[in-house]
Symmetry: D2
């Protein structure tokens, strides 16, 4: 950690700061510049990071040197993490698509959607049984019944199930049915829930919070990893900005940034990023071109009657057409779909 002293910091203040750092077990290294004195604290920075050195008298600013995450960083593991789910790889050359309705609503509807998307070769089926809804008066999901419908669709198609965990009390039942457990954007910093899924042996799809920085997303992944579960996919799903034409703003370059900072695979959710079905294709192509390892796309057999997010859901035939287009973009960047 670098501590920049204020112009005119007194010798006493300087001594106090040095004493404080040394008292925490770190060594100091002083550099007297022309305009500022700088103190380098040498040793375990994590001890210092919690301390309010920046509010000590005589301190102008404090700059951490190390990243606050470890297990999920490229420094810790230089090769890409490839998550293997019953022989299907996420994070390898092949881009994986996860498709299906926002929420599970009916047995037939889900089955119809699953069969349709599966014709493309899509092997991951999404569908929410427990739904985080902004309004208490909105449809909140079918609960375990929804999971059972997902199981039936899985039995019928062989697809893997991706579904969201909202509350620790649902972990057991979700665990029973899910192949990948999703942590939603609103729970990205539900730290107790992160620890819970860090303790299990299923892969986690962790969504970036509505206005989370990439660093915070990686810190949340670190929570999961620190409990033992290293099979984590990070999901960019748009961030909140002042622009109102789209629901959120897809941070497409976050894919490349994350891949520089971390070894974990990156999935993009174009549907939530844009919030309009007619922009999903453009967002999906951009994500594939920018290096995404996967896409999670909302598809509904009857969007006009969807109980949730109908506006941003593709009809199966549109999804199938998009899939063909994405194959070309994937090939253009040396990947396959």
């Amino acid at each position: 950690m670098i501590i920049v002293l204020a112009k005119g910091a007194s010798d006493d203040e300087k001594r106090n700061i040095i004493k404080r750092i040394e008292g925490l077990g770190l060594a100091v290294h002083i550099s007297e510049g022309k305009e500022r004195t700088i103190i380098g604290a040498i040793g375990d920075e994590s001890i210092l990071i919690e301390k309010p050195i920046n509010s000590m008298p005589g301190v102008e600013s404090v700059m951490p040197i190390l990243k606050p995450y470890k297990l999920v960083s490229r420094d810790f593991q230089s090769e890409d993490t490839i998550i293997n789910i019953d022989g299907i790889e996420i994070g390898g050359k092949k881009i994986q698509c996860i498709a299906g309705p926002c929420s599970v609503e009916s047995e037939e509807g889900l089955l119809e959607t699953a069969k349709a998307v599966n014709t493309t070769g899509t092997v991951f089926l999404r569908g929410g049984a427990f739904k985080p809804r902004t309004s208490p008066y909105s449809f909140q999901g079918l609960g375990e019944q929804g999971l059972k419908f997902l199981k039936e669709a899985k039995d019928a198609t062989g697809m893997k199930i991706v579904t969201e965990l909202m509350d620790p009390r649902d972990l057991d039942v979700i665990y029973k049915y899910a192949d990948v457990i999703q942590i939603g954007a609103r729970n990205m910093q539900n730290f107790r829930l992160l620890k819970d899924v860090g303790g299990i042996d299923k892969p986690i799809l962790l969504k970036r919070g509505l206005s989370a920085t990439i660093k915070e997303l990686l810190m949340s992944a670190e929570y999961i990893a620190s409990e033992g579960n290293r099979r984590i996919m990070l999901c960019e799903r748009g961030i909140r900005t002042f622009e109102t034409e789209t629901r959120n703003t897809l941070d497409v370059t976050a894919i490349a940034v994350i891949k520089k900072l971390s070894h974990l695979p990156v999935i993009v959710d174009p549907s939530h990023a844009v919030g309009r079905w007619d922009l999903v294709a453009a967002a999906s192509k951009a994500a594939v071109a920018a290096g995404a390892d996967g896409l999670i796309i909302e598809v509904h057999n009857d969007p006009q009657n969807a109980l949730c997010d109908g506006s941003q859901s593709l009809k199966p035939e549109k999804y199938i057409a998009l899939y063909e287009e994405l194959k070309k973009v994937a090939a253009a960047v040396g990947r396959s779909l």
Copy 2:
């Protein structure tokens, strides 16, 4: 709800839209303008709000007329909600301060801080026993031991306890000790938790999410209210912007906006808004001048050794001095402290 038809929408499209609205049990009212045809849907808008009318062919845009929250709105209750906690009122003429450390760390430290802030007449003591921390390697709170220390400080001073609930599994133990239960910014949209605290009989302090809109904050309050608990305080604690000099940006006019839209009292957290102790006074004065019903301020007997948020914590003597200054500002706007 107002549905604006696209320029050149066909008669078929128009008929379909009308059929759809009428099929949902609402009446339609058509207005042919010079450049656009507008359809008004008359009846229960909440039925429509969930439907993706905006993605129907021929629709250019859809505009809801009503606010999506009810119980917490001024329309529903025109007079201010005043929350009475053992005779102490929040939302009345007197502004209430809530002071104390970010996290409970030790019996003596907490007691010292509590006694000091209590000398001003401050009757609410804050302190976290379960702490949401960005890093899994940071101090996570003392758990129930922290609650016991709060209880001791309460016994010694008569202060009321305000403490955060992070996880439904802690509700019973928190309920036992807390006078006011705080829902933190990161849990503002933890909808299941909101329902949980909606079902109990203790007042709730609901913090605005990091990038939540005022409408979303009110929707989250609606979740609590819809379960029966109407004793809700809303807390503005700064929103995330691109400005980096402060931890967040205090949205000081949100106080007045909320008071127009809702009858609930508004508390401001200047400490988290600015993230630096040397700006807490300015933020606190601004909040009082703008109409806040209360402040929640971090005070620590030894900020340099705080395990959490030391940089933004006031020393007790600074808090006491600030309290005197705030009295004057409160008086200037017809309130008392």
Copy 3:
């Protein structure tokens, strides 16, 4: 325009509002809903848009129906605008690249860069002679000497010149040398300058402001178009968000949004969007995949010694390699490069 009356608006208030609208020459159309009365104003909305109807007693909210821009909208012109510059088309099937240094610094350096990028088939050369710099102590550009160097590079390669106009006093000299005149992000709402370039007969590259909405960008284009100049390219160059890993956040779906709202071609500036050369490739591919009509990329023969934006500049060889990759992505989305 739709005027929603407040719950409990009095008959007098209602009469006043109607009188006001009719007094401005519009007709009214009243719709009494269950919870709100709605007044539709029928006629020329642009008359109303300037009036503070929303602050009249009894008004809850006001919703414009029409878009505030006309000439640049798809409503006005449904087919794409294709800008022809001496036989080279922008906005057609072929994606055009604009490459070159941030600022013109030396005759040899510029020539070397121009020749290198031209080997790919790139026919637009960028380079700033007048530079908007955040610090008054930074290099401010070579002025007309820079334009002369651009002219020499043009003579040597046949490339077209794209250069920025910052101030009306430079219009004459810029006009003499430029094939495309750039209006920078910081001048997107320099309305007088927009009018100036609206009065000339050269194509304009208009950059989106640092935190401008798409609507505002289109309104600025309308300023230019309203003076007669319809040869306008819109440029997405990243918007400001709270994320700090990149200089700005590339709003990649803005490309598709703009193409729905407007007939004008869209150029993307990946260099300014990300601010780091090692992310330019990912951003460029995403932009092409999402439908951009062109890219404007910073290339410098010696980035380490660039006087401006060296960190985000590609070396010529990197640009040449990227160009080959972009060809594949363009082909994958049915375009060419």
Copy 4:
């Protein structure tokens, strides 16, 4: 400047970086930590700041130590700047109000407004003759005729004139009439215009850009100061966020931040910050409580017929009432009005 080397940076890379820094005339100071090597560059940091050291091989990150502005910083001048305008002080104990219409529209209207606000003791009259408008079809101001009306109001009341300069071609005529020249938010980074007003002998009111950081505002002030004009007031007028209930979000703590970083007086524009007349009072009180040196408030004799910003304009009687309330808040924080 601090240069953090990447983990595993080679000796060659290290040598190159050192050579580069020394080649620019600075000394290096190396600190080998446990996890990272850090190079301190000692000497004139401004030489380095322009160089893309951060993109050199082996560099992980670069941290400037010094602030990029000088003349406007507290380091440069520790005592507050007090601007004296014919005996009236801005930046002293007395808070100055600047009141008047958004745009000058008529002789009588302006005079009526001026006389009304002047009754409170307000001695600065605002009014735009050249107006930056989002739409080319909106009223663009009366031009010099507007300035003449301002002059008449000045003659009648003795008030000082504050008016906006949008374009360098208007500088001479504005100079003739204005006592304070305003640079609007959209021109905060119109660097040529900043230099222009840096070369004159009238005080400047510099507004913060729509999404400008405080550092950028100070850099723009530095542009003015570096040309010789040190009589600069900085104006916080709300920043753009995702919140839509208000036009912008008033960054009220920016007042205190700026006062720590700079010696210049800070004016707040509550009218543009909130965009609604019914929130102007709350915003104004907050600003005064937080330490503002002045307020610039839109007042119009007939807001319903204002040609510009009528929704956010106070009627004269509301302004007069607010002024009385503000006096109390000012007194509460040791100031006067």
